[in-house]
Amino acid sequence: MLKQIEGSQAIAQAIALCRPEVICAYPITPQTHIVEGLGEMVKDGSLENCEFINVESEFAALSVAIGSSAAGARSYTATASQGILYMAEAVYNAAGLGLPIVMTIGNRAIGAPINIWNDHSDSMALRDAGWIQLYAETNQEAADLHIQAFRLAEELSCPVMVCVDGFILTHAYERIDIPTQKQVDDYLPPFVPVQILDVDDPVSMGAMVGPEAFMEVRYLQHHKQQRALALIPALAKEFRERFGRDSGGLLRTYHCEDAETIIVALGSVNGTIKEAVDEMRAAGKRVGSLSICSFRPFPLDEVRDALRRARRVVVLEKSLAVGIGGMLSEGVRNALSGISLKGHTVIAGLGGRAITQKALVDLLDSAARGELAHLNFLDLRWDVVKREINREQAVRRTGPLAENILRDLGTVADRIG
């Protein structure tokens, strides 16, 4: 049924249709509306056979999900930003134990300086913890990916993170098609665990493993993700057959066939990128875009195939690997190993800095003119940066950096965009 609703509410409704049995929650902006929505559904009885557990921290939230998943219950939680850092140890445990928990990340920057706005630093920080990571391009896809995520997680017995851009998607009201209960029931069978804590047939989970077997256990996690490379497109195909729309899959190309320049990105910025591509195509420029949905596992072969005919690749990243550049670029370069084409990394949108269509068009034009550096920062205010560097050179006791810059800028309330 088509509804004009907030992204978070659409996600909550999609999760409810998946019949979760345990939801643990600790609030943190910008994911809070999702678990609030689910909490209301549990309380008013519209989400049956589900226990909603308020916990004291993010570490507890995922620890409870680990326990309930091990006991055989379909388990869900959500977090963002510092929240995922606080649960980091449990994030690795859930994957190491092979528990099919689904967790939404309402993508948000990480402090310091504290910032509630969107970027991908949080999910990127835990990218190698053994979870599958899917990035949603639209709110429709965000809702749909959760339905696919439970199926994927349970078939592989592997946890899945669905990464949704905070505010840009979570707080946007849009037209979203919410499936029926029957559609979801037909797609997502009841959870049959491969391992279960059962008093009648006891096992222990989480054994200590020494050098004799640790590498094999780790390898098998990697093997699971390699299986996901085939399963993710298969589940997206089945989803299209049952629900009538494209959502999920490993990646999505847009005008890549004859493109000289291709821009690669994760998440909602791909919408603005497509507008930029259309604008440039209308002016006869051969540009295209590649939206990667599955960041873990990283679809090396498919990325290679999508990019191999281009002359240059621009990777746009909403997180900065301080000291080197970009994390998505790392995967893209891996995929292009042995292929000679120009590659550029562009760090953009950190801490909620708007990424505009105009900035993207200018960026792709400068790439085509050969003016783009190896590593670039989109719409960075160089005057602000230089002023601080000069200050650091002039005096020893400069004081706190962020406060200096805010003082230089004065009020920011008058800025639009």
Binding site: Q4, I116, F167, Y173, E174, A413, G417
Partner: protein, 191 residues
């Protein structure tokens, strides 16, 4: 695509206004995208929300920087925030005030816009009268429907009723109706 930027203060229902406008457009079979300016909103602080309306899927995710219409819920922002930034030369300006453009001190700026694209309605007073609280958002949407024709009054009324139930909903619809009639009357006087 028709783009709207709403300026107001935390607690004035700015985000709800964008949401209701998007619901109204959706009701009429159009695509709409409403979102807040993502600030750490506090009571009284300047707040923005955006709404895009189109006949096709809206993929653009940047803030509205070139609005076709501005709704200003609090005229004290006129001299604090660059509210007119990026407004199209044929754009609409709708302000919640009991005063006119001259008295607000912006007549010189607004003169270059088409006269029937400019509108001031006492939305807070209308809300106080019909709802009992000076929350101007619903009334302003009524006036928006009248001056822009982007959505019908009926769609606005339905969106308001979806957001607010019972007496509060009906009060807000009545305030929106009064603002709609006022804006229409002003437009008729110009014609």
């Amino acid at each position: 695509m028709f783009q709207v930027r709403i300026h107001g203060r935390g607690g004035q229902g700015v985000v709800s206004a964008a949401e209701m406008l998007s619901v109204a457009a959706f009701e009429e079979g159009r695509h709409a995208q409403a979102f807040p300016s993502f600030g750490s909103e506090r009571m009284g602080a300047p707040v923005m929300a955006f709404c895009r309306i189109d006949s096709r899927e809206i993929r653009l995710r940047e803030p509205v920087m070139q609005p076709n219409a501005l709704i200003i819920q609090d005229p004290t922002l006129l001299h604090q925030v660059d509210v007119f930034s990026g407004l199209a030369p044929t754009g609409y300006i709708l302000i919640n005030s009991t005063r006119g453009f001259e008295e607000l001190g912006i007549a010189e700026f607004t003169r270059k816009f088409p006269a029937n694209h400019l509108c001031v309605v006492p939305a807070s007073d209308l809300a106080l009268k019909h709802v009992g609280r000076p929350l101007p958002n619903a009334a302003l949407l009524g006036a928006f429907a009248a001056i822009t024709g982007q959505v019908s009054f009926e769609a606005i009324a339905n969106a308001i009723r979806q957001k607010f139930s019972g007496k509060v909903g009906e009060g807000n619809v009545a305030a929106a109706r009064a603002a709609y009639d006022m804006a229409n009357k002003k437009e008729a006087a110009l014609a």
